[in-house]
C-alpha cells in the first residue's frame, strides 16, 4: 500500500512538472512580444522593458523556465513598476495588469469556487445515485423509462442552457430567488446559500445525469454477475440483493468518479461561474484570457492542473481501497 501510494505521488509530481513545461512553453515561447503581453496594454515602453528585465526574457528559454520554477519553490522579487516587492513561495508571478500577486489573487478566488463545487457535489451525488438506484429498482416498468429519458435529457442539455432556463424561471418569471450574486459565507451564511442555490442546481443537474448512468450500469452489471445468481438460488430476496450486493458493486466506480469530478470542477465550472457571475477560479481564467493577462493565466492553469492531478491520484487510491479486489501493486 505504501509503495503504491509513493508511486502514485511520484507519478503525480512528474505530471505536474511536465504540465508546467507545457504551459510555460505555450505561453512564454509563443510568438509576439511576451513582455508587452504580460505587462498589458496600459504599460509604457519603459515599464515593458522593466518587465522584460524582471522576467529575464533576454535569457535562453530554459533559464527563463528555471526562474519560473524557482519562483514557485523559493519565491522571487518583482518590480511593481514603482517599487520592488517580494513574492513569497509558492510564487506564481505578478500580474502587471491588476497590480497583484497571482498567488494572492488565486487564494482569494479559491473559497468562492470551493463554495460552488462543494454544494453542487453534494446535490449531484444525492440526485444522481438516487436516480440510478431508483431506475434499477423499477426496471422494466414505465417509471424506469421516464427516468432513463430524464437522464438522457440531462446529459444532452448544455449547462448554460439549464442555467439560463433556471434564471428565467426562478428569478424573472416566478421571482422566488434573487439574481445570483455571490455573498461570502463568512459574511452572511443564509444569503450565501440562497445565492448559490441556482448555480448548485444547474451544475448538479448536468453532473447527476452522469452519476445516474454510472450507478445504473454498475448495478446492472453486478446483477448479471454469477454471485447474484448464487444468492437468488439461496432464497435471498430481491430487495436484499439490490441493497447488499448490487449497490456494493457501484460504490467503487462512483467514489472514484466523484473524486475525479470534484477536483476537475475547480477549473471546470467555467460556464456555471460565467453564467451566474460567480467570481471563482474558472471565471477569473476566462477574464484573464480575454485581456491576455499571461501571469494570471499561467498561474491559474497550474493551480487548476494541480487539482486535476490531485483528483486523479485520490480517485485511483479510493478506487483501489473501495474495490478491495484490486491488488495494490
Amino acid at each position: 500500500m505504501t509503495g503504491f501510494l509513493l508511486r502514485r505521488i511520484a507519478g503525480a509530481l512528474f505530471v505536474l512538472f511536465a504540465l508546467s513545461i507545457v504551459v510555460y512553453a505555450i505561453f512564454y515561447v509563443a510568438p509576439g512580444d511576451v513582455a508587452r503581453i504580460a505587462c498589458g496594454p496600459r504599460c509604457s515602453t519603459a515599464q515593458v522593458d522593466q518587465v522584460r528585465e524582471q522576467l529575464r526574457l533576454g535569457d535562453p528559454v530554459y533559464v527563463q523556465y528555471w526562474h519560473f520554477l524557482q519562483g514557485i519553490v523559493a519565491g522571487r522579487d518583482y518590480s511593481t513598476g514603482t517599487a520592488l516587492a517580494h513574492c513569497d513561495a509558492p510564487c506564481l508571478g505578478f500580474s502587471y495588469q491588476t497590480d497583484q500577486q497571482v498567488t494572492q489573487l488565486i487564494l482569494a478566488k479559491l473559497p468562492v469556487t470551493a463554495s460552488l463545487v462543494f454544494g453542487a457535489f453534494v446535490l449531484w451525488i444525492v440526485i444522481g445515485v438516487g436516480t440510478g438506484v431508483l431506475s434499477v429498482w423499477r426496471r422494466g416498468r414505465l417509471s424506469e423509462r421516464v427516468l432513463t429519458w430524464l437522464t438522457l435529457t440531462g446529459t444532452a442539455t448544455p449547462v448554460f442552457v439549464i442555467g439560463l432556463l433556471l434564471i428565467i424561471v426562478f428569478c424573472s418569471t416566478l421571482a422566488w430567488l434573487p439574481f445570483p450574486q455571490y455573498v461570502p459565507f463568512t459574511e452572511d451564511p443564509e444569503q450565501w446559500m440562497w445565492n448559490l442555490l441556482l448555480p448548485w442546481f444547474a451544475l448538479a443537474l448536468l453532473e447527476s445525469a452522469k452519476y445516474a448512468r454510472l450507478t445504473r450500469s454498475s448495478m446492472l452489471e453486478t446483477l448479471a454477475d454469477d454471485h447474484v445468481r448464487t444468492f437468488r438460488a439461496f432464497g435471498v430476496s430481491e430487495g436484499a440483493i439490490l441493497r447488499r450486493h448490487a449497490l456494493r458493486g457501484a460504490v467503487a466506480p462512483v467514489i472514484a468518479l466523484s473524486a475525479l469530478d470534484f477536483g476537475t470542477m475547480f477549473g471546470g465550472a467555467v460556464l456555471t461561474e460565467s453564467l451566474f457571475g460567480i467570481p471563482g477560479l474558472a471565471r477569473e481564467l476566462v477574464e484573464a484570457v480575454k485581456v491576455v493577462d499571461l501571469p494570471v493565466v499561467v498561474g491559474l492553469v497550474m493551480v487548476i492542473g494541480f487539482f486535476v492531478v490531485l483528483a486523479n491520484t485520490v480517485a485511483d487510491v479510493l478506487y483501489a481501497v473501495a474495490d478491495r479486489r484490486v491488488v495494490l501493486a
Binding site: 454469477d226 454471485h227 445468481r229 432464497g235 478491495r324
Partner: protein
C-alpha cells in the same frame, strides 16, 4: 414421497428447446448424476429444480416438485423457503459464485438468516461451524477472508459450506469440479461423498465428465439434445450401456487405465536428431519481492514423428513452456535449439480465429507472410489443407462463427500445417471440446503425426488424454519437470509422489475402481 419429481419438463429459450419432455424422480437421500455434452440441457434441468428460470424469459412447462414444493406454481415466499432451505445449489465457478466484496463467513451468515430467525452472532457462529465441517483450516479466522483470498478448491468448499448451512434435503451441484484441478476435484468429490453419508441429503450432480459421475452417484441419467437417453444404476449403465449414444459417449472417453496395447507405438527413432531441444528454460514473472518463476529450469527434447506430452495442473508452467518453445515468449534463461519451423494450436478455437476474417484468409496467413502472391495457388493450397484436416475444401470464404467448436479446431490445425512445420505445439487443444468431438480431433492429430512425420508437443491437464496421444510424458509442477519418461514408465510405475497423487486423483469409470481409488487417496493423504 420422492425428493424430486419431475414430469414432462420442457424449457424453451426463445426458439430453442433446451429441455424437451424430461421426467425423472429421486428418492430422499439418493444420488443421481445427470450427464451430457454441451447443449444437452443438463444444467437447464438443474436450474429448473430451484425455479431459477423465473422471469428470465424462458418458458417452462410440466411439473417440478422438490421436497414437497411445486416449484413452477409456488409463490415467492414458498420458493424462497425452498431455495437454500430445503434444496441448495453449488455452481461451477467458485470464484464468480461468491460476492467479491464481503467476507465469506458473512455471506454464509446472510443466507442462514434468510431461513432462520437468529441473531447475527448466531448466524456467524453457524458459518464458522459449516466452514470447519467442509475442511477449511482455522475456520474462525478464514471466515473473515474475502473470496479472492481463497484458492479455487477452498472457494468451492466455502460454497458447499453455504449449501450445508441450512441442512437442506437436497444438494444440486452444477459441474462443481469443472473449474478445478484434478487433485482438488478429487478432494471435493470425496467431501461430497462424506457429507452425503453423514447428513443423508440427496444429491443431483450435473456433469459433462462421466468419470466424475461414476465416482459420486448411485444412478445416472444420460441426456442429449434436451431429452433423456438412458437412466439406470451407474454401474450397469457404464459397464453395459443399452443406448447407441451412451455407447458412443463412453467409447470416446479417454481411459487412463487403458489395458489395450495398441497405443504402444514405435515413436521416433531413438537415435534420430531431435527436432527441437530446450535446455534449462526459465521464465520469471513479477518483479521486486514478488518474483515467481513460472518455468524454472526445464529441459525437453522432441524427436521427429514423436509426441511429447506435457502434463500439469494450473500454475505448473506448462503453457508458459509451450509458448517459449514456439517463440511467442522469450525465455529469461536457457536456450531453445533446433528447427524454427514450429507452429501452435491454441486451447480455445473460438478465440484463436479472428472472427472478422474468413477461415480461408486465416489459413492463408502463413503462406502470404512467406511471400506467396498467386491467389490461385493460395486457394488451392488452402483447399488441400482443409481436406487434410477433414473439412470441405470449398469452405474458404466461410467465417468462424459458422463452424462448430471441433470444426474450428480443425481450421486452426490447418493453419498450423500451412507453412509445413516440423513441429506443432498443441496447448490444451481439446479441453474446450465435448468428449466425442475431442476423440475425433485427437485421432486427427495422431493421423497427421504418422502421415506427415510431424513432431508434436501436447500440453494438457488431462492425464487420460495425454496418455492416449503421447510417446513420452513430462509431468510438471510449479515450473519444474518432476518426472519424465515413456508413457508406460510414468503411468505404469510412477516414481514421484506428485505423479502418484495425480494418477490417484483421476476419476475412474468403474464405480468399484473409484471406491478403490478413494481409499488409495486417503492413504496417500495420511502418508503425506
Amino acid at each position: 414421497m420422492s425428493l424430486i419429481e419431475v414430469t414432462d419438463l420442457s424449457v424453451r429459450f426463445d426458439e430453442v428447446r433446451a429441455v424437451d419432455g424430461v421426467s425423472f424422480t429421486l428418492d430422499p437421500g439418493a444420488a443421481l448424476g445427470v450427464v451430457g455434452e454441451s447443449g444437452s440441457g443438463k444444467s437447464t434441468v438443474a436450474y429448473a429444480l430451484l425455479g431459477l428460470h423465473r422471469e428470465t424469459g424462458a418458458s417452462v412447462s410440466g411439473t417440478v416438485k422438490v421436497a414437497g414444493v411445486d416449484v413452477l406454481t409456488a409463490d415467492e415466499r414458498e420458493l424462497r423457503g425452498l431455495r437454500g432451505g430445503k434444496a441448495a445449489m453449488v455452481f461451477q465457478d467458485p470464484l464468480s459464485s461468491l460476492d467479491p466484496y464481503y467476507a465469506i463467513g458473512d455471506q454464509i451468515a446472510e443466507v442462514y438468516r434468510v431461513h432462520h430467525r437468529v441473531s447475527r452472532r448466531a448466524a456467524r457462529a453457524r458459518a464458522v461451524e459449516v466452514l470447519d465441517r467442509v475442511g477449511i483450516p482455522d475456520a474462525v479466522r478464514r471466515s473473515r477472508s474475502r473470496p479472492h483470498e481463497f484458492s479455487g478448491g477452498m472457494r468451492q468448499r466455502a460454497l458447499i459450506a453455504m449449501a450445508l448451512a441450512c441442512s437442506p434435503e437436497l444438494l444440486v451441484a452444477d459441474e462443481p469440479t469443472t473449474a478445478l484441478d484434478v487433485t482438488v476435484q478429487a478432494q471435493i468429490l470425496d467431501l461430497l461423498h462424506e457429507l452425503r453419508a453423514e447428513t443423508g441429503m440427496g444429491l443431483l450432480l450435473v456433469t459433462h465428465d462421466v468419470g466424475v459421475a461414476a465416482e459420486s452417484v448411485d444412478d445416472i441419467l444420460v441426456m442429449r439434445h434436451g431429452k433423456v437417453v438412458e437412466r439406470g444404476p451407474v454401474g450397469s449403465v457404464l459397464a453395459s450401456p443399452r443406448e447407441a449414444y451412451t455407447q458412443e459417449l463412453l467409447a470416446a472417453v479417454p481411459r487412463i487405465d487403458a489395458s489395450d496395447t495398441s497405443d504402444v507405438r514405435p515413436g521416433g527413432a531413438e537415435t534420430a536428431e531431435p527436432v527441437l531441444e530446450a535446455r534449462d528454460l526459465r521464465k520469471v514473472y513479477g518483479k521486486g519481492k514478488q518474483v515467481f518463476p513460472a518455468v524454472d529450469g526445464v529441459s525437453v527434447s522432441v524427436r521427429p514423428g514423436e509426441t511429447l506430452g506435457v502434463v500439469g495442473e494450473s500454475g505448473s508452467g506448462k503453457t508458459t513452456l509451450g509458448r517459449m518453445l514456439v517463440g511467442l515468449l522469450t525465455p529469461d534463461g536457457g536456450s531453445v535449439t533446433g528447427t524454427s519451423d514450429v507452429q501452435m494450436v491454441f486451447q480455445d478455437p473460438a478465440s484463436a480465429l479472428n472472427p472478422r476474417r474468413s477461415i480461408g484468409e486465416s489459413i492463408a496467413d502463413p503462406l502470404r507472410a512467406r511471400g506467396e502472391k498467386d491467389e490461385e495457388r493460395i486457394r488451392a493450397r488452402v483447399g488441400e489443407l482443409l481436406v487434410r484436416v477433414g473439412l470441405d475444401p470449398t469452405l474458404y470464404d466461410r467465417y468462424p462463427h459458422e463452424f462448430s467448436g471441433g470444426q474450428r479446431q480443425r481450421v486452426c490445425i490447418a493453419r498450423a500445417l500451412a507453412p509445413s512445420p516440423r513441429l506443432i505445439v498443441c496447448d490444451e487443444p481439446v479441453s474446450s471440446l465435448d468428449v466425442t468431438t475431442q476423440a475425433q480431433v485427437l485421432s486427427l492429430l495422431d493421423e497427421l503425426r504418422r502421415e506427415l512425420g510431424l513432431a508434436l508437443v501436447f500440453v494438457a491437464h488431462d492425464l487420460a488424454v495425454v496418455r492416449q496421444v503421447s510417446d513420452r510424458v513430462a509431468v510438471m509442477r510449479r515450473g519444474r519437470v518432476v518426472e519424465s519418461g515413456t508413457v508406460a514408465e510414468v503411468y505404469g510405475a510412477p516414481k514421484d509422489p506428485y505423479t502418484k497423487q495425480l494418477l490417484a486423483a483421476v476419476p475412474a469409470l468403474d464405480p468399484s475402481v473409484a471406491a478403490e481409488r478413494r481409499s488409495e487417496r486417503k492413504e496417500l493423504a495420511e502418508a503425506a
